[in-house]
């Protein structure tokens, strides 16, 4: 298959939407709104995450929504801050009202130090939200068994972590991501911990359907340039995956013919 055909036909389907870009992005941690919008545009991302918070009555928050909607981005509200399934369902229902979408990035991480997701509460919440008609994308540890439970619960995708949120450590869960990818019948989006474009490429080469990146772009020296780098990295990794990587060998395998022609000419 020609790469041109791959690009044209290689749409990612999640729930009821189709995406040309396999790079999902977050909106947090940018220095200012202008930089955020410019970086998200440069990323070519079509799905961006948002959070919800209780309004501070003393201060006025920036309206970050308008520029995102204006640029045609699909919104993926998260349930960050929820400590259990009940709170996550409440947060998802609030987000549905606030953003008029039934998509939700389900995240329940009660521990503030490592922000590791609670698998039991996440599964409970996923079942409840799927039954209520939400398109559920749960943020989870790279646990293949949990992923199958979430798939059976009706989730639209799973979002296993590469490393703790915001750590930029890269893919520390590679062996388990491989199992998840091999077994999944729904898209696998590697989320959290991807700190550089090469991490994103690796995830895509492994066969991940998409990646979600926030911190690595937002806190970089030049978020707009870093967004472009991630976009290219994701495309490169996807292209390599579709092309089919060559097998590995413990011994050297010669790339030139070993005909010993020098000896023969003596």
């Amino acid at each position: 298959m020609l790469f041109k055909d791959m690009k044209t036909n290689d749409q990612l389907i999640v729930g009821d939407k189709s995406f040309s870009s396999r790079l999902f992005t977050g909106t947090g941690k940018f220095n200012d709104q202008q930089t955020m919008v410019a970086a998200l545009k440069a990323s070519q991302s079509e799905l961006v995450t948002m959070a919800l918070k209780r309004v501070d009555m003393q201060h006025r928050d920036d309206d970050i929504l308008a520029p995102l909607i204006k640029n045609g981005m699909n919104l993926l509200p998260n349930t960050s801050g929820a400590r259990n399934a009940k709170e996550a369902v409440f947060a998802a229902e609030l987000a549905r009202e606030a953003l008029q979408t039934n998509w939700v990035k389900l995240e329940i991480h009660p521990d503030p130090k490592y922000l590791l997701p609670d698998p039991i509460e996440t599964l409970k919440a996923a079942e409840m939200l799927a039954n209520k008609g939400f398109i559920v994308l749960p943020y989870i540890h790279a646990d293949p068994v949990l992923c199958k439970h979430l798939e059976a619960a009706g989730c639209a995708a799973v979002m296993p972590l590469g490393a703790p949120i915001g750590s930029n450590k890269g893919i520390k869960t590679a062996d388990f991501l491989e199992i998840i990818i091999e077994q999944a019948n729904i898209p696998v989006v590697v989320d959290a911990g991807l700190g550089s474009p090469s991490h994103a490429t690796l995830a895509m080469e492994m066969g991940a359907d998409a990646v979600l990146v926030n911190t690595a772009i937002a806190v970089s020296g030049n978020p707009v340039a870093m967004s472009e780098a991630f976009a290219k990295a994701v495309q490169a990794g996807r292209q390599a995956y579709l092309a089919g990587l060559g097998g590995q060998s413990t011994q050297a395998v010669a790339s030139s013919p070993l005909t010993a022609f020098l000896e023969a000419s003596l």
């Binding site: 977050g26 948002m50 959070a51 209780r54 501070d56 009555m57 009202e97 911190t215």
Partner: protein, 66 residues
């Protein structure tokens, strides 16, 4: 009439709707969600839901996040 909005006491002279309250407080209608006494009020009901004495209003707003 005394109510609470996000735990802050607020005194209103008239019975007003949810939508009127948001406008009164200068909060955006887009990107907001409202619960009255822990029950979420859907956006389509904002113009007809009247706030009553003692109601505890919770206002939420979409913000940047990952």
């Amino acid at each position: 009439m005394k109510i609470q909005v996000n735990e802050q006491p607020l005194e209103l002279t008239d019975n007003i709707t949810i939508e009127q309250l948001l406008i009164h407080l200068g909060k955006p209608l887009i990107g907001s969600a409202v619960a009255v006494n822990q029950s979420i009020i859907t956006r389509t009901k904002w113009t007809e839901t009247i706030i009553n004495e003692g109601d505890k209003i919770s206002l939420f707003q979409a913000i940047a996040g990952g």
